[in-house]
């Protein structure tokens, strides 16, 4: 099988696997007083320092969570008290579901948030703005620096969901000028089950916890740490600093698809190097995904429900794609995708597209 669905989850990096397995052998609760506890605590704090070094901010203001979704929900809850929530139209469900009453800022055809509309909403009073750095379905990048400047000018807080960008392009709390940043271990080649919310000093000062429990994470997130998973998370964060540039391979995949009748709708835009959105006109996206799976290629479309059905993409709808929104697949290259993988994808796509276009002509 050729795995081209890295935006769903990246393959585990060997260094992350090694760190995870090594840490599993350490018995001890990081909150315990004794030596065993201190050994676990050391793993945890080293991981915290690694993340701070890689993604900005202070180690003491990193809150470990169970994943990206929790980090996003925690940001909305922890920083949204007494503020209106403003989100982009293409945000992940992690944000949309956490802020069901949010004001929604539209995006343009390239998936970038409308800064004029954002500015107008910010003028209405205290707010928490939630924007994703890179979109999970298209790889589109929001103009975060400009949005951050607007937020600063209006005294608003800015939460950035960097789950897809961290490890693939430069993404840091301080570099982006955000008040908080959500990260996910398995989207950078670590094990699933850990994430983090990085807080700026301003944000840390006003943060309201959701789960208090035993007071872990300086009272910001209770519950015993998944120490081994966090060790793997940190190793992946370290490892993805040396990721090869995937843009060349991605462009080759898009060219092959276009020669076979597909349309690479994000080509030429500012976006993640590993992500392609490809429309096959007239063919439902779920049919394309299934046909490619049967041909040994793993890609995705829209948002998968727990039933496994492919729901229509709110992201592509928000970008104004209309019918094409239901006919577009996501091809997302993994850190270890090779030229041979892309060649195999090109062959399979050609065969599948030829059959589907003939049938649906």
């Amino acid at each position: 099988m050729i795995y081209l669905d890295a935006n769903a989850t990246e393959p585990l990096r060997p260094a992350a696997r090694d760190a995870l397995i090594a840490a599993l052998a350490v018995t001890g609760n990081p909150s315990s007083v004794h030596g065993a506890g201190r050994a676990a605590r050391r793993i945890l704090e080293e991981a915290r320092e690694t993340l701070a070094r890689r993604f900005g901010g202070r180690a003491g203001e990193i809150v470990f969570t169970a994943g990206g979704t929790e980090a996003d929900a925690l940001a909305v809850h922890g920083l949204g008290q007494g503020r209106r929530i403003i989100i982009g139209a293409t945000e992940h469900e992690a944000i949309r579901a956490a802020a069901p009453d949010a004001q929604v800022v539209p995006v343009d055809r390239q998936g970038r948030v409308d800064l004029d509309r954002l500015g107008a909403l910010l003028a209405m009073g205290p707010a928490l703005v939630c924007l994703m750095h890179a979109n999970n379905e298209t790889g589109a990048l929001h103009p975060i620096a400009e949005a951050a400047a607007l937020c600063r000018a209006h005294g608003a807080l800015l939460h950035v969901d960097a789950v897809q960008s961290a490890g693939r392009i430069g993404a840091s709390l301080t570099g982006l000028g955000a008040h908080s940043l959500a990260l996910s271990s398995h989207k950078m080649g670590g094990p699933a089950g850990a994430g983090a919310l990085l807080l700026s000093p301003d944000a840390a000062a006003v943060f309201a916890p959701l789960i208090r429990g035993g007071g872990q994470e300086r009272g910001r997130r209770g519950g015993t740490h998944a120490t081994a998973v966090i060790a793997g998370f940190a190793a992946a964060a370290e490892g993805c600093a040396t990721t090869i540039d995937l843009a060349g391979l991605r462009d080759r995949a898009e060219q092959a698809a276009m020669q076979a009748g597909g349309a690479a709708i994000m080509a030429g835009t500012d976006r993640l190097p590993n992500t392609a959105a490809i429309t096959l006109p007239g063919v439902p996206a779920e049919t394309q995904v299934i046909a490619l799976d049967l041909a040994g290629i793993a890609v995705s479309a829209g948002a998968a429900c727990s039933s496994g059905k492919v729901a229509r993409s709110h992201v592509l709808d928000a970008m104004g794609l209309e019918a094409a929104a239901g006919q577009t697949i996501r091809v997302s290259l993994a850190w270890n995708t090779t030229q041979a993988d892309i060649a195999a994808f090109a062959d399979a796509y050609r065969a599948v597209a030829a059959r589907l276009l003939r049938r649906n002509a």
Binding site: V283, I290, L294, S306, S307, G308, K309, R355, L356, N360
Partner: protein
């Protein structure tokens, strides 16, 4: 062969998938999500997928075949649920399972079958496909208790040519369950599904009322001469021949009244003594699985009834040997022995 199996999550289609896989075919399991389960059972926060979808996936995983869930909600709502409500609102008695077979299953799923490069689609229906000199023929199931041929009369010849019904030749359900046991299929003991799938609570009138509120508006129950006998709470609750829910109009002296006709324009339910019935039945949307011609045949006007002797014309006018009470909207299926010749929907 690469074969798509329509898997509902029940024992029948699960067994079909298992048997075809056992025979060495490349089997692809597909489950249709037809409606939002959470909304159907009116439980907020319930998953959109019912237990059946999870069962289908578990069975496919056990057998070791690929399995996909297809979102057919929009199409099902339009082609089946809306038609169901519209039909009741028009004073008819619909057969949603036939509409579902016609649209979602034997049109859309067969299209997907071709898209996926598969030669055939197999289902768990109890009917037999017999390969005759002029292509595939549709026959009753071997087990008369299970026969579903009445629900599949609208399958076209080209759809039939690409369909497989491996359970049609099974002597009885116990044999199917035994195969399921032998194949280690976990749903082997699962109860048979009942009634209409998108009416989980059993109150179809509530579903109709939601989609067509006008069909739930109260009206009068009248005699054939127009005398008002009682009131009703929506014509959607009545079908021709029905003797229940007539309230004060239930009896005419010693005699029981039944529904004779439904008039959606005046929202009137017309009742009277049970009639002898009619011998002429006009059919619409005819589907022929043999060349259309005036033919002697047997017909079934309901899913479960003893066939009537009849003559049918090429235009779909049925002349019954003896009078019967056909309900508009129901199917009239034509048989020659075990073979389905075609059929149509009964016109008012």
């Amino acid at each position: 062969m690469r074969i798509v199996v329509a898997m509902s999550g029940g024992v029948d289609s699960s067994t079909v998938a298992g048997l075809l896989h056992e025979q060495g075919h490349e089997v692809i399991g597909v489950t249709l999500q037809l409606y939002d389960h959470g909304a159907a059972v009116s439980r907020k926060g319930a998953c959109c997928a019912g237990q059946d979808i999870h069962d289908a996936r578990r069975v496919a995983d056990h057998i070791g075949i690929a399995h996909y869930v297809i979102d057919a909600e929009a199409r099902f709502r339009e082609a089946v649920m809306k038609d169901f409500a519209d039909s009741y609102a028009a004073g008819e008695t619909p057969v949603p399972c036939v509409r579902c077979n016609q649209s979602v299953k034997f049109t859309d799923l067969l299209a997907l079958t071709a898209d996926l490069g598969a030669s055939h689609m197999a289902t768990g229906h109890y009917v037999q496909r017999v390969d005759g000199p002029d292509g595939a023929e549709l026959h009753r199931a071997v087990d008369p208790q299970r026969d579903q041929s009445w629900f599949l009369f609208a399958t076209t010849q080209s759809q039939l040519d690409r369909s497989l019904f491996p359970l049609g030749g099974m002597p009885d359900k116990a044999t199917v369950r035994a195969h399921a046991q032998r194949l280690g299929i976990q749903v082997a003991d699962k109860a048979d599904s009942q009634d209409i799938c998108f009416v989980p609570s059993g109150s179809y009138a509530d579903v109709v009322a939601k989609l067509r509120p006008d069909a739930a508006v109260p009206g009068e129950i009248v005699s054939e001469s127009g005398q008002v006998l009682a009131v009703h709470d929506g014509i959607a609750r009545y079908t021709v021949g029905q003797a229940k829910r007539l309230g004060l109009a239930t009896h005419d002296g010693e005699q029981r009244r039944v529904v004779l006709a439904l008039d959606p324009a005046t929202r009137r339910v017309v009742v009277g003594p049970k009639r002898e019935g009619t011998t002429t039945v006009r059919l619409r949307e005819m589907n022929w699985l043999v060349p259309p011609a005036t033919r002697r045949c047997t017909v079934k006007l309901r899913a479960r009834e003893v066939p009537h002797g009849a003559v049918v014309s090429a235009e779909g006018v049925v002349t019954l040997d003896a009078p019967a009470l056909p309900a508009p909207g129901q199917a009239c299926v034509l048989y020659d022995g075990s073979r389905v010749l075609g059929g149509g929907f009964i016109s008012a």
